[in-house]
Subunit: 125 residues, 2 copies
Amino acid sequence: METDENRVRAALDVWAEAVRRADVDAVAALHTPGVVLFDVVPPMTVTGLDAYLEQWRLFWDAQGEGVFDLSGLTVVAGPDVAFAYGLLRVGAAGTEGFEVRLTVGLRRVEERWLVVHEHHSVPAG
Amino acid sequence: METDENRVRAALDVWAEAVRRADVDAVAALHTPGVVLFDVVPPMTVTGLDAYLEQWRLFWDAQGEGVFDLSGLTVVAGPDVAFAYGLLRVGAAGTEGFEVRLTVGLRRVEERWLVVHEHHSVPAG
């Protein structure tokens, strides 16, 4: 069924697939110009699409195409604002990788769901 | 003006104030029974209101009433789903504390905005 929840899930699947194949244009197309990222490495806050994409370039330089799998995703969607949270397994190809916690905030812009905010983290301590 | 954004900001202010004075009932009243917390300390995922409140009891036991200040909060609100992100300064009374990144997902239940999900983190690295 074509619900907003399903459309948000589809957008996040397209994003994960684009990260796996290091497709910067496909990643860019799913995000707003003002996207704000809380990443697993400093800086504390990454603001704007250019800076956001630079973080991915560093990631791809470090590990190449590899593991980037969403799991246990809960999606809460209204007609024009949504958020989702779950786990993300990240790592170089052929490794088990490690789990990161992920929260994503999205907004519908015309007919497309775009990511406004991402928060990735590992627990401290 | 009574916009959804303002109502969400007001709910988060009430939450921060309730945390500052260690008011467990006021904190509970702002959250859904199924709230999912990604906290700054393990476990990776805290599920349900009882477990959520237990994390606050541990926090209050450790530091008592103290600093718990939201800043730089961006709120994206639709009529029934919203999310917010910004920074949170946390610490014992009389200290500077430290900054944590915060993302919150909310849903409107009848006339009240309730927190469905919180993600608190410090950058790794």
